[in-house]
């Protein structure tokens, strides 16, 4: 590794660990019209600098799902996109629709002030880099960065002008830490909630929960889930915000169980040998 590439790595690491730099993908979905192009939807997703954006566009004859990632490098940024496309290509002899599936990757380099035009359904004949396929929408994307202290959770704002269109926009953020709230439940009695911030793959921590005067000590640690089995889920990072809580008893190697879930404030339960039930709720941590 030469001195230039080493300094490049340092710059990227410094940017990723910078003082709360936040990335925003600002998009507009535009459809060609007879007079002027029409905006079908507009929105923005934001998150830490390593946030991705998942975009879904569906028509009667095609569906495009894409995951966009950004690699910042000084004043320039590399925008990459993994596309999964399904196209209706005809009908079978029994009259059922036939779809073809296509997976590919696109990448461009741009500056922060540039606007990228994404033609998700292709550019058609002779339209190399110029115009979309006839009648098909396109997407205008602007990348912005700003300094925002310690806020790690993603944010989404989306305005669907034409509700008959199937357009979706999601932020994809891999949490670096998670807020886990634990309760012990037995019948209609619930222990006091115990909230802890956990970092994936860090050493286990001891926690104590008290229910009806009886203390229960557990060893908990946060892990990432196993990689998704399907190519589609891996490419679109559907499991990006899933974390798993491994629960064990002190001095016992075999875990009592593992609870996996998204950071969406939904309680998930794990029965314990004592007859109690452990309820774990995963949430995005507060700003640091």
């Amino acid at each position: 590794m030469g001195p230039l590439s080493f300094s490049s790595v340092l710059l990227v690491i410094a940017a990723l660990q910078g003082p709360g730099t936040r990335l925003t993908y600002r998009i507009r979905v535009i459809e060609p019209a007879s007079v002027t192009p029409r905006v079908l939807a507009s929105g923005a997703v934001s998150g830490p600098l390593d946030s991705d954006m998942r975009l879904t566009l569906r028509t009667d004859t095609a569906a495009v799902e894409a995951l966009f990632q950004v690699t910042a490098f000084g004043d320039t940024v590399t925008l990459g996109g993994d596309f999964l496309t399904r196209r209706l290509v005809g009908r079978s002899r029994r009259g059922l629709p036939l779809w073809e599936e296509d997976t590919y990757r696109r990448q461009v380099r741009m500056t922060w002030s540039d606007t990228a035009r994404i033609y998700p359904f292709g550019t058609g004949k002779g339209g190399q880099g110029g115009s979309p396929r006839a009648g098909m929408p396109w997407v205008e994307l602007i990348l912005e960065r700003e300094f925002a202290g310690g806020e790690a959770r993603p944010a989404e704002a989306f305005d669907l002008v034409d509700s008959t269109r199937d357009v979706r926009l999601e932020a994809v953020v891999r949490p670096r830490r998670a807020r886990v709230i634990l309760n012990l439940v037995r019948g209609d009695t619930v222990s006091a909630p115990r909230g802890i911030d956990l970092v994936p793959d860090e050493p286990p921590r001891l926690i104590q929960l008290v229910l009806k005067g009886r203390a229960t000590t557990l060893v908990v640690s946060l892990t990432r889930p196993d990689p998704a089995r399907s190519t589609r889920d891996r490419a679109l990072a559907h499991d990006a915000d899933i974390v798993c809580l491994r629960v064990a008893q002190p001095a016992v190697l075999e875990p009592l169980g593992t609870i996996c879930g998204r950071l969406n404030n939904i309680a998930r339960q794990l029965p314990l040998p004592t007859g109690d039930t452990l309820a774990a709720t995963f949430a995005w941590p507060g700003p640091r």
């Binding site: 925008l79 996109g81 461009v108 606007t115 990228a116 035009r117 994404i118 292709g122």
Partner: protein, 116 residues
């Protein structure tokens, strides 16, 4: 044959009785005979002469207009040629343009990112 003269129609009648007219020409002549009494009479006279000649030559049957014939072997050959041509053409068209997903090339249907 709308501008044909009467002599030309008579020649056509002779040719018809000799079996030298094509199907189209015979149809045109029949159409003309239906409207031209003079020609219809001339045709009847020609037929009578031919029948008389045939009988005097010992042929008891009236004159029969010979019709063009297609030999079975020739017909079978052309049927085989037509079927083979259709099969080869169909195979080539299916190979070149057939199957689902035809039309534009794959790259034309794939997404593109352009920086403005």
């Amino acid at each position: 044959m709308a501008d044909s003269t009467h002599e030309q129609w008579l020649a056509q009648i002779d040719a018809e009785l000799d079996g030298e007219l094509s199907l189209v020409e015979r149809a045109a002549l029949a159409k003309h005979l239906a409207t031209c009494g003079h020609c219809a009479g001339a045709r009847a006279s020609h037929l009578e002469v031919r029948v008389a000649l045939a009988r005097s030559a010992g042929n008891p049957h009236a004159f029969v207009v010979p019709r063009p014939t297609i030999r079975a072997g020739t017909l079978a050959l052309w049927v085989v040629v037509a079927l083979a041509t259709g099969l080869v053409g169909g195979w080539f068209a299916s190979h070149r343009w057939g199957g689902p997903g035809g039309g534009s090339t794959l790259e034309e249907t794939r997404g593109t990112i352009v920086v403005q």
